[in-house]
């Protein structure tokens, strides 16, 4: 089972790969759209990437609720 920090690190790599955001900026309190400039299409790719990386399934109605990096990490932790 991955720890919070391990999930955040892997998520940061994914956000960097998809949207070019520096990995060190991807912190738990950051909002994807407001702080990291991740748009709706990049978000789709990040969600799909999370599903592949962490073996979770994130339905549309849930993905809309994931506003911050912390939201996503918590979701992955509780659904792994």
């Amino acid at each position: 089972m991955a720890t919070t920090e391990e999930i955040r690190t892997q998520l940061a790599e994914l956000v960097n790969d998809v949207a070019g955001v520096p990995v060190e900026d991807v912190q738990l309190d950051k909002s994807f759209t407001e702080d990291l400039d991740v748009d709706s299409l990049a978000m789709v790719e990040i969600i799909v990437g999370c599903e592949e990386k962490f073996g979770v399934s994130i339905p549309d109605e849930d993905s809309k609720q994931l506003k911050t990096v912390g939201d996503a990490v918590a979701y992955i932790e509780s659904h792994q």
Partner: protein, 331 residues
């Protein structure tokens, strides 16, 4: 018992020529923003589209088909009588019957070539190419003209800001004929009719007659984006493998020009080397559905970005949902 003779085809098929017809009317993002509440910046950032082409005065699906079809036959060094099958892929023949292909076959001057339309939306060129390859190899035809043509501007809802900036017009054609070496790899294709409502017409013809209002092409963009960047990226990888090639052996990647963001995501999945030249004609042409791949290939060949003999991976995907991709040798 009497025996029935079987047709004798060529061992291999290849693309002998490619041509395209680019409509005259340029609609830039500034003009688009007079119809929808949007901005040049948003459209470019989400799609890479700077301008698109719409048919102008005197242009329609038939005229575009004749234009590129005629030039493709010339470039193949053939005459219209050499063409014995014409396949037109389009969702812009706005009657159920007759098809556009028989009209195009007659007006081009073929000697009554077999002719039929196919409906495979944005995968149409690759679907048509797969059929042409099979016809040549089976001996059912010797030279097949495949045309992808669309006038999506006629079904674009200028009040729908989530699709109006995408759809566009254009045509592209290829002549497929017999060859001593293989020029068309195995097709990797399929469909997912469970997502038939992802890209759709808002009304049937009966409803149009009853309501007296037009039917528009609409789309749920995000599910399509998700499908294109996952399942279709994987299908592209399989088409390459089916041809027995590795990414480093590829010269050109020309996916259906739907959106540069889809192309970018596919490139991330496929891990193609930087040396591969990637089609980006969506920037100037918009999304031309069945026409986008041959339009992109012709533009790349004419500009010198791609060369005759190059190995190219093409893949189309769209309403159905349907997809098809294959590796080809450029003429």
């Amino acid at each position: 018992m009497t025996s029935i003779q079987a047709s004798q085809g060529s061992p291999y098929a290849r693309i002998l020529s490619i041509a395209s017809a680019v409509p005259s009317r340029v609609v830039d993002n500034a003009e688009m923003c007079t119809y929808i509440d949007s901005s040049d910046e948003w459209i470019q950032q989400r799609t890479g589209i700077v301008e698109r082409r719409w048919v102008g005065e005197g242009e329609d699906a038939e005229s575009l088909s004749l234009d590129c079809g005629g030039r493709a036959i010339e470039r193949a060094g053939l005459t219209p009588e050499d063409i014995d099958a014409v396949i037109v892929s389009t969702i812009s023949q706005f009657v159920q019957t007759p098809g556009l292909a028989p009209i195009v076959a007659a007006k081009l001057g073929t000697a009554g070539a077999a002719a039929f339309d196919i409906s495979a939306a944005c995968a149409g060129f690759s679907y048509g190419l797969a059929q042409a390859e099979a016809l040549v190899r089976s001996g059912a035809a010797h030279h097949v003209l495949v045309i992808g043509v669309e006038t999506l501007s006629k079904v674009t809802d200028l009040e729908d800001r989530s699709t109006a900036f995408l759809f566009a017009d254009g045509a592209g054609a290829a002549v497929v004929g017999p060859s001593d070496t293989n020029g068309i790899g195995p097709v990797v294709w399929g469909s997912d009719g469970n997502q038939a409502d992802a890209i759709f017409m808002t009304q049937s013809l009966q409803e149009v007659a009853a309501t007296g209002t037009p039917s528009w092409l609409h789309m749920h963009g995000q599910p399509v984006f998700r499908w294109a960047t996952t399942a279709i990226a994987d299908a592209a990888r399989r088409a390459l493998a089916a041809a027995g090639l590795t990414p480093d052996q590829l010269d050109v990647f020309a996916p259906h020009q739907a959106n540069n963001r889809i192309t970018d995501a596919m490139l991330r999945h496929l891990k193609l080397p930087d040396t591969v030249k990637v089609a980006r004609t969506v920037k100037y042409y918009g999304n031309n559905s069945a026409a986008s791949i041959p339009m992109a290939l012709d533009a790349m060949l004419q500009s010198g970005e791609a060369s005759s003999g190059d190995t190219a991976l093409i893949i189309g995907f769209g309403a159905g949902l349907v997809y098809a991709g294959q590796v080809i040798r450029l003429p």
